[in-house]
Amino acid sequence: MKKISWYFLMAWRDSRRDQSRLLLFIAAIVLGIAALVSTLSFGRNLREDIDDQAKELLGADMVIYSNRPLSKADEMLLDSLPNRHSEECSFASMVYFVRNGQSRLVQVRAIEGDYPYYGELETTPAAADTDFREKQEALVDKTLLLQYGAKPGDSVRIGELSFAIAGSLDKAPGRNEISMTVAPPVYIPLRYMEPAGLLKKGSRVNYQYYYQYLQGDPEQFAQQIAPRLEAVGLHYETIAMRKNRMTNAFQHLTEFMTLISFIALLLGAVGVASSVNIYIREKVSDIAILRCLGLKARQAFLVYLVQVLVVGVLGSVLGAGLGLVLQQLLPGVFKDILPLETRFRVVWPAFFEGIAVGVIVSLLFALLPLLSVRKISPLLTLRVSLEPVRGRDPLRWLVYIVILGFIAFFSYLRMENGRKALVFTVSLLGAFLVLTGIARLFLFLIRRAFPERWPYLWRQGFANLFRPNNQTVILIVTIGLGTTFIGTLFFVQQFLIDQVTTSARGGEGNMVLFDIQPDQVKGIEGLAGQYHLPVKQEIPIVTMRIVEVRGQRGDSVLGQVANGGSHRRGQGFGERMDSNAVGRWVFEQELRVTYRDSLTGSEKLVAGQLGAPVSGPNDPISISLAEDFAKRWNIRVGDPVVFDVQGVRIATVVGSLRKVQWQRLELSFFVVFPRGVLERAPQFDVMITRVNTPEESARFQRAIVEKFPNVSVIDLQLVLSVLDEVLGKIGDVIRFMAGFCILTGLIVLITSVLISKYQRIRESVLLRTLGATRRQVRIILLLEYFFLGTLAAATGILLSLVFAEALARWSFEAPLMIHWVAVAEIFVAIMGLTMLIGLYNSRGVLNRPPLEVLRRED
């Protein structure tokens, strides 16, 4: 057994002239490690930030939520709680900007008390937070002010009252940019809600009661009163619950980021394996000499393993250092998603984990080509024509298994779920095999179909992809996978926008007016007539609650929940229930129900028959449920269901199930009653019309807000712009992470070009010696990168279209519309980038004098 130091000495000697090249190989994993360290550190910092800022996120020690006005008993219960409290009512309403006459749907938050108790409503000017509570003033979301050109001191009208704008709302506890975009908030004092006439029949209001618990442990207090709250169907949240909820939510986000980083690292590692393979092939004669001089196979293997180990450690340390820099960018990338301040702290465990993973991954992947060192025959010193490495090596399979095992182990560490880790590993293997398969298939087909009559420059450029030791397949895979991520994201985003826009094509409605009271229907119809707008649909809506299903009474189910019975509190999506138990949510929710005798375009009957109109008091009332609603809450056709329609009990039977396309811009309902039952119940209307231009929309909205201030309006333009902005913000995060894969691919491309540079110089010199001009050589190189970029982009786009189509079909149940212009844009971008980087790194190839190279050949 030789001393370890000898292997290091020999590795140092052997790599003397190649150290910069070895570092170049390892550059492929630097970015992956940087991404890994930054996301691991960011995740850990985020958890700590959530811990530190949980109070500010909730703004109070406990919040009690209700989606209905409190009953006398509820009020007595809340009043009995011995703490400071504030109250908030939030609901959607139109706000009218008096200065420019424009209006928009916003989230009005009417508050009373000193909420938030922790953290603050950040406003400009700072005093606006206190000022607006004392006067008839409003705090308006800063983006809204910018969009509508309003400023503090201007007026806004909400309902029947005007409010002076006290200031702009810059930040509110627990709210992120996306939630502010979807529902921009306007705060007003609660005492003006009634005079503003905003709350009419059917208005959907959320009530929140914020408590600051000054004596003792708030969590203990929450546990004590929880059964009483649950018994009356009130929800609550404490700081610990918010902390858990946020930690869980962001854990998924950071898990996703870490796994993408890991994929980028693995792609880089595949690049390393490919580069090490070339390196070893070039070292074959040196290894044969050493073997001739008496070096054993295992010793030769160790000499090269040490080289890879050293550069692996160096590359990993470099990557981890870069990760610390990158970590500082992440809060900026995630600022729209995060509802809290994130602070930069170096997380040493993440730093060292990144280094360890980097070293292990680079070693494991490099082992594949390194194993061949053991097989190099000393006979090569005498016969250069000998095949350098002969025979199959069963150890390669062992390495493949260890690599897969490590991927599964790492993903298990991140996700703490064996099944998910297995799915991730198998999917990754599958994606890699598919990408490799497609890349090889493309190469095979093009090689066979390539026209022999094409000009020489084209043929030579294409043939260059197949030069000895080429890395064509690995380049297609790495750049292709990055393209797949970005392409899939883009196509799905486009698909969602298409879903909204197409639903309004062909003369269908594109503006929804809701909260219309029965006495306002005629007036609004008349107003629409004045503006020459058609009334496409008028939908009556009645609010009600379910009180009994299959003999199970809502009050007893909620009571059982309060006492920890079988209808557990967390019973929700995907959780197991007793086969006969009905989900508790069914009894808690206030439902909005319509009545009609036909299906809409977005519905399909999947079981039973739609209920016939009811003409007499003894006729059975056959209702129709949305299929997914019924399945989720365990209600079946034939089940008796009793509703409480604002104090009146109505017994019904589930007569049919409908499959509903919820993603269409139409009003869809969980429950549909037959005609003849609800016509006389207290109700409100929703009206759908169609506007043709944004100007027409603005004029009509202004008229509605002026004459019917309680009526809210959503137009398609608003939905589209919000959707676009939200998807854009989420997309930024995904694009940022996918960028690591693309960049890794490009680094592999750079290393590949630089590794084969001497070979390219030789080819260029030979061609120039034979009479080719520099321009012709440059065209050949350009064509080589053109083919490479084309293949990588085509592979990535093909896979992303398959993924997007699968998502569209299975998740959204609608066919994908392919935007060929967008496809072409992605294609050109990826191909162009590949050509640019390839050509830039080959610039030295053309400048070498032929004689210099030919002499070197001697």
Binding site: G294, A297, T381
Partner: protein, 235 residues
């Protein structure tokens, strides 16, 4: 020292079997110098490779220093080479990333010897490269590279030296110089020498010439010529 008995070597390529050596037998005694000559494709280099344990014969037995090579695996043969065998190649086969001194040190380091630097330095001085110790192969001329190779071959005090066309890549003057050195060092160390060459003059400098043709021994004769003494002095 070297015993070859009924050795054949066949290769299979493209479904065809090619016999490169066919039933070869001969012995080389201790301190004996032998040339193997013959036209291209006669099997000279294959015979050298088999004799030095770089490859396995298809049939027959080869004994090197009393050890049957057929019974050894590749790693055991590597140890044997390191202990008893020296090599000189036509294209020098120096490690390009190692200096002249380091190239000579490697076989000694592999044996785990001490004071390897001093021994390597001494050998390089002996071949006239005392001032080129820290030069890389690319910085040396062909003749100088072959002298480094020579120093390396003698570094581990081999019992047998295999030389494959040692002057094949050198001009006439340098060839004579290097050949003189080979014989001189060989004589001083009492090493057995097996030399593969096209050069009949060089072959004539060995004590025995085995002539190969189409995989068979055509002749096995004693040579009486010696290396001229004036060339020895140029060391």
């Amino acid at each position: 020292m070297l015993k070859i008995e009924k050795v054949s070597k066949t290769y299979t390529a493209g479904g065809r079997t090619l016999t490169v050596l066919d039933n070869i037998s001969f012995q080389v005694g201790e301190s004996e110098t032998v040339s193997i000559v013959g036209p291209s494709g006669s099997g000279k280099t294959t015979l050298l490779g088999l004799s030095a344990g770089l490859d396995r014969s298809s049939t027959g037995t080869i004994e090197l220093n009393g050890v049957s090579l057929g019974a050894l695996d590749e790693d055991e043969r590597a140890v044997l080479r390191n202990q008893y065998v020296g090599f000189i190649f036509q294209n020098f086969q120096l490690l390009p990333t190692l200096t002249a001194l380091e190239n000579v040190m490697v076989p000694l380091e592999l044996r785990g010897e001490k004071h390897v630097r001093a021994r390597a330095r001494e050998l390089l001085e002996q071949v006239g490269l005392g001032d080129r110790l820290h030069h890389y192969p690319a910085q040396l001329s062909g003749g100088e590279q072959q002298r480094v190779s020579l120093a390396r071959a003698f570094a581990n005090r081999p019992r047998i030296l295999f030389a494959d066309e040692p002057t094949g890549n050198l001009d006439t003057e340098t060839s004579e110089l290097v050949a003189g050195m080979i014989f001189d060092l060989n004589r001083q160390a009492g090493t057995t020498l097996v030399l593969v060459t096209h050069n009949l003059d060089l072959a004539a400098s060995t004590g025995r010439i085995i002539k190969l043709g189409k995989g068979h021994i055509v002749s096995d004769e004693t040579s009486l010529r010696e290396v001229p003494s004036d060339k020895k002095k140029t060391l």
